[in-house]
Point group: D2
């Protein structure tokens, strides 16, 4: 695995826990953790159970005893590492967003297509698809439980930048992060919409905005934020993104991505209104799926709160009895399960780099629309 | 109408609004309001739309131009007025609890039975039965939507006495109020349980307790409470009642009535667990009924929040389009509608004085059980 | 009162109930109800308590014994009646939206300004402002409880058109209704945003869409909809409106108005994110206001669900003890109270026709933006 | 670790994850898993990461390279194993309930007391105490945030026996399980009440009941239940337990434990009403704690939903950024953390065997009260 920040911790749990939860076709071995700094990398490897460490990712991906490369670095480095790893014949799991630019993402998708011809697999890490309630939502839409999709509302709201004195981090630097709320969390909302509806976004109209334009420089990282140091830096990414979009069917979808929604900590939400029902899901109530069945008896209709912890629900076979909750990191175990299984049977795992590219193109279209006064822009 | 406190206001809205909401078989005329104090009675009559006032209820119930007597005085006066009104050939609507003692309630039920032979009707005012969601709950149980009743949880929680310095009111004086939380709000929980399940309680085991035993005397009434005056009085009623009970079928039910549930303002709650489903209702979310259908597809089960505002729901024909909420006082209009309709067609309205007596007997059994160390006591 | 549809019923309750709930400076007399059809008007008058009826509004507004004209007809008739009534020296309460076009609204606002010079008052019926929780929300924003407004999310979602076979009504005919979801319910979201933030919208970018373009003709009205008759008609208004907007301060707001949100019955929602807190309100949970205090102890922050039924909350002095819910029509009583009080003291009631015009201008700007590919459009 | 059922899986995750989440003073090594059946034990060990297996627990606890024995077998075997392990100088973590009888629990508590003199530690596995929201609840009560405790409502409701054809498992056999809903889940509610209030229960009055008295014999275990085989067996434990209790302070508490609460999957709930506020927590919404501050401004009071995922909240230092949810098994990591830390510093971990015994005594008192017609019974 390359990288060892917040995402490194989450992916490590996935690699550790998946084999305990599910009967995998092959047992993953957590061989090497790669980082820039020898000591912090070693500490992370020790804590998370990686056998060795390295500060040179090129060396690591060249090793014969490594089959899978998991990339959890900031977005500006994804393309170079992924393309090299695929060329070296390694299966690649790459954290989202696929890249910081469409050009890089295209390069990665091309490399993935080429590699697939030799049976080399690649997947991008939109893990929220693998929260059981979200997977069930997709299944229910596909099964026609809500009929034709009429409207979608999607959003991802956090508030960790609501404090104007929260310091700069790499996530606020366009060169490192590519974009702000749009690429970091809006990308999840876009992928979720496309995943659940089974439709791509075809055009968008939106606006990006930086609410707090200057912040203290970072002294030390804590969680997604950190402590403030001396001096101030310029925020070069968006704090909020608001956009409307068209699905392939022509249906309208509205999106919001913001880090200024005071009091909303991690509210990835999606609601789909169909002509036979509706579905609603919120990551802050992640084990529940709300289903409205417009074909039920007229006097008994309402949103049903399905607790997605039953044995027949997606991924639940690996976990606890009904009513015992899953948490944030379970999606990472599910991701490992699906990735390892796809490799084992020689199938294309989803979301593919092509799907990652599709999200990247939406991000790009939103940025262009914003620059052109919210003009509708083809994806 | 005899009495003009909080309940007088609510009943007056019922009499005013019912004819505007529903096509009644007869138009009620709000003839006379009776109270002890001439001036405050006149002010109330003026505000609520009563044509005349009186300070002598005996005189009023003797009038030929009065057909219905509505009693909203404290419980210690119910028996005398109701028995006299029935004897005078007036239909009687009496606010709950029917009386302060079983003996008085029996006397009233006897009078009602005698009067019914001459077509004189009587009803006791458990209006919460007539919140549409509660009525729907009863209908769904009766229709077998949850199968056999296995367990009931019922409670009525308020917190207006949580402040130990809240003053004495007549509701804290056993001589006036009969009992405390048990009779005032526990009575509602008991009636709701019996109404919704269609079963009587047959035995109980419980405990009554006065948490704050002395309070400031009342200076002036405000809402259910008031402002504190000089001196202190002894609270002679219970602050909290906890009891378990058996239904006719043998199923267990648990009850709580308390005015010390800090933060719970008006939480009359009932949940019924059946072998095919469950129903839950809370007066603090009064327009919604929660229904769990245990016969639905295993992966789609969950509590459905039915918003009881659709045209086909009970009493909704008289009100607004779907999704427009009803409030506390609508139950009083429904009560007037049902009472007037029952009189018009010569039917016994429900809850009858007999049903009121049945509640009174449960209250009495709980008090006896509490006095005997929570021994199970027949109702 | 001119008109006797759904809004006629609601306004009638307001006129009936306000004097019973509040000590008004003058007692309203429900003199005359005006409608096109003699019989249905008479039936409505009888039911709601109007003393007389007429089929000629001009005659009625000419009467000397009438001081107030309440207009609850469809939007295309508002301007003519209101201007005439003001010219006749009557105080005018006009249901929202003020008119179907900006030109008409301007004419009405001019007439109101002229009339105000002679002490004649006018108000537009955005009653949702007068739901106590919404009023409290405005008060808390004004008191600085959430600091500077950073973002607003507002929407009004219903689903009564989700059924593609729901019939045409006047609300789907542009000539009668002016616009569809935008003017009917989006107008409430816009007014609520401007009311609560105390800021006007200055520019918008949005899209309107008609999802179901043809519907059965109406046989008979039921609630907001009706039963289908023979033949089909063309829907000439929008089913859904999605738009972003700027407030005076530059803050972004997003809006949605739709009648296709399957399962959402009457969800007027608004959330305001400030730099010191946030507030959220939903008409489907109308008695509760959610408040997030970002200045509270870090470990104790969260959304507080304030049940807005306490004696010190707006308008609650007229109603029930804490925890007893208000319903849809209480706002109409509050409207009557405020209107009558403003007339009595000679003050301008709010929302004025100017405020109604401001909403109309936003509606118009959204329609223009939609026609120009969501280009940002000045209000 | 002795045992490898559902609890074995959960404890294994604790041992695997705690070192990755927290900087422990000593690194646990998952040496040996002990079970009756060689093959299923080997499969479990392989899946969960235990190095060796054994079918003889006596042999295993005799090993010099083992310092800690973790007991996750049914309750009837706890005493023998725990006493032996303590005698062998091993630190013991024993799953709840401590034992099936008070006599066994006393024996274990005695053994623990003796062992503690030589620095040998023991702890009983009431892991729900270590859900961060529950720990925070205890902290806030201890800090006086709700003042004096006035009333407690506690319950644990599941529905996995609501189906009358759900088969017998060892949990329905008094000889193996000790008791039914009372000991299995009621024990959690009792421990949580004592933990959060810091007070013991002193007397109880209650009733136990078996609703479905005969069930199909078990063919194969699935989750907490299983598939039905041929033949029928008699349920010898309670399906539901309802009881009231007194805390040391004299305050009343009500309890419910049931496996027949249709639709409630895992609802461990506790609400504490104090004279300055209230706290409410539900395991089905496990990351949230509801706090009512009765000392806040009168117009702003309400239940605050604190999302207990902030860095300063208990145990959160080991996990994810704010708003990222924890699941069921995190409590087991917290348990390992606290147990290992207590061993390292030579402190008594909590809950001790004495605390486990105290719960056992309450269970026993409830059973005796039920047998004596709900008579109040000293603990």
């Amino acid at each position: 695995m390359i990288g060892h920040g917040f995402m490194g911790a989450a992916h490590s749990v996935g690699w550790r826990q998946a084999p305990a939860a599910f009967p995998l076709p092959a047992q993953p071995v957590m061989t090497a953790l790669v980082g820039r700094d020898r000591e912090t990398t070693a500490a992370a490897a020790d804590r998370w159970g990686w056998q060795e460490t390295s500060t040179d990712w090129r060396e690591t991906i060249a090793r014969d005893d490594i089959d899978i490369v998991d990339i959890v670095t900031p977005g500006d480095t994804h393309a170079e590492i992924a393309v090299a790893a695929l060329a070296a014949g390694k299966h690649v799991l790459c954290e989202k967003p696929l890249a910081n630019t469409v050009a890089e993402a295209e390069q990665m998708a091309d490399a993935a297509t080429r590699a697939a011809r030799s049976g080399i697999r690649s997947m991008v890490g939109f893990t929220y698809r693998r929260v059981p309630a979200a997977t069930l939502m997709r299944d229910m839409v596909a099964d026609g439980r809500i009929g034709a999709v009429r409207q979608v509302r999607a959003g991802y709201r956090q508030d960790w930048l609501a404090d104007a004195e929260a310091p700069m981090t790499w996530r606020l630097d366009k060169d490192r992060a590519g974009s702000g709320s749009l690429g970091d969390i809006g990308a999840h909302a876009i992928d979720m919409c496309q995943f659940v509806t089974g439709q791509s976004l075809t055009s968008v109209s939106g606006v990006l905005e930086t609410i707090v334009k200057e912040r203290p420089l970072l002294a030390a990282s804590v969680g997604l934020g950190g402590t403030a140091g001396a001096g101030r830096g310029t925020v070069t990414v968006d704090d909020v993104a608001l956009f409307n979009a068209r699905l392939e069917s022509g249906a309208l979808a509205s999106f919001e991505a913001t880090r200024f929604a005071t009091g909303r900590k991690n509210a990835l939400e999606i609601e789909i209104s169909g002509d036979r029902g509706a579905l609603y899901w919120n990551l802050e109530d992640m084990n529940a799926l709300q289903f409205y069945d417009a074909t039920a008896d007229a006097g008994e209709q309402g949103f049903t709160r399905i607790l997605v912890t039953e044995p027949q629900h997606p991924y639940l076979s690996g976990w606890w009895p009904a009513g015992h909750m899953l948490g944030y990191e379970h999606g990472f175990s599910h991701q490992v399960k699906d990735f390892v299984e796809a490799i084992a049977v020689g199938a294309q795992p989803s979301p593919s780099f092509d799907e990652g590219l599709r999200v990247q193109r939406v991000l790009d279209a939103v940025a262009r629309s914003s620059a052109e006064g919210s003009a509708w822009t083809e994806v």
